[in-house]
């Protein structure tokens, strides 16, 4: 059974929670609100194995670090809401001019990434692993999201299929997921 099939059961619980949580957040009671959040229950055990060694596979990277390219991409706006907005992602070329990268996500401390971007966007380490033959190659683009998405329905129904399409178009066979 797919995760999408579980949404019918989850969405009424989520809508009840939004009614409860919305008045609390402007009062600074986020902890109290999220203590009652209806965690999404997944059913089924998706699992695939590589048909060849990692040293021959193409790897992709997904991060929720909230990066965008200044002046070239629309920045992410704020933190996700409780509505039906579809979580967006940005495609960042893995050979991007890093001086143009900005972090639009204010839900985590940027001090580590400012000191060394590899702390949560490990382009240098991954390129080294390609050079050493640990992995076959790195995708042309890294996919960047914002994280903190209380309404998982548009994520499951729309964003994840788009992420899949982007990786398939880049011939990605295995993915490393790095939250922030």
């Amino acid at each position: 059974m797919s995760d999408a099939a579980q949404l019918d059961d989850w969405q009424p619980k989520f809508e009840s929670w939004v009614e409860f949580a919305k008045p609390l957040l402007p009062q600074g009671k986020a902890r109290e609100a999220f203590a009652e959040y209806p965690w999404f229950t997944t059913v089924g055990d998706p699992f695939v194995t590589l048909s060849k060694p990692a040293s021959e596979c193409r790897f992709g990277l997904v991060t929720t670090g909230g990066y965008s390219i200044d002046g070239e991409q629309e920045p992410f706006t704020g933190l996700p809401t409780f509505g039906d907005e579809v979580p967006e992602f940005r495609k960042i070329p893995t050979d991007v001019d890093r001086s143009k990268l900005v972090i639009n996500h204010h839900g985590y401390d940027h001090k580590y990434a400012k000191e060394d971007i590899n702390a949560n966007l490990p382009f240098d380490r991954l390129n080294e692993l390609v050079d050493e033959g640990v992995i076959g190659s790195l995708s042309n683009e890294t996919l960047v999201l914002m994280g903190l998405q209380p309404n998982v329905a548009p994520l499951i129904n729309e964003t994840i299929p788009e992420i899949l399409a982007a990786f398939k178009a880049d011939d990605v066979e295995a993915a490393l997921l790095v939250p922030s």
Partner: protein
């Protein structure tokens, strides 16, 4: 992020997630996760800790290559604290 891992895996892309908040990541049951004692914002490793960053990524790659089934976990032992 666990839901993204599951969505990719269901369509044939093998995944590994690094987590520094295992109760959160585990609640949605990702196919494979490496659980590290690191900070949010430095989930791969501390700034300029090249070996620590490499270790995280190599453990994720190893889990993708070697895990035998859904729910595989590679967790830091206490000696890494």
């Amino acid at each position: 992020m666990s839901l993204i891992a599951r969505g990719l895996e269901a369509e044939g892309i093998a995944t590994a997630l690094v987590s520094v908040m295992p109760p959160l990541s585990s609640s949605a049951r990702p196919p494979r996760q490496v659980i590290r004692r690191l900070n949010i914002g430095a989930t791969v490793g501390r700034p300029h800790d090249l070996e620590g960053q490499r270790e995280t990524l190599k453990r994720m790659i190893s889990l993708i290559e070697n895990a035998e089934g859904h729910g595989a976990v590679d967790k830091d032992s206490k000696r890494n604290e």
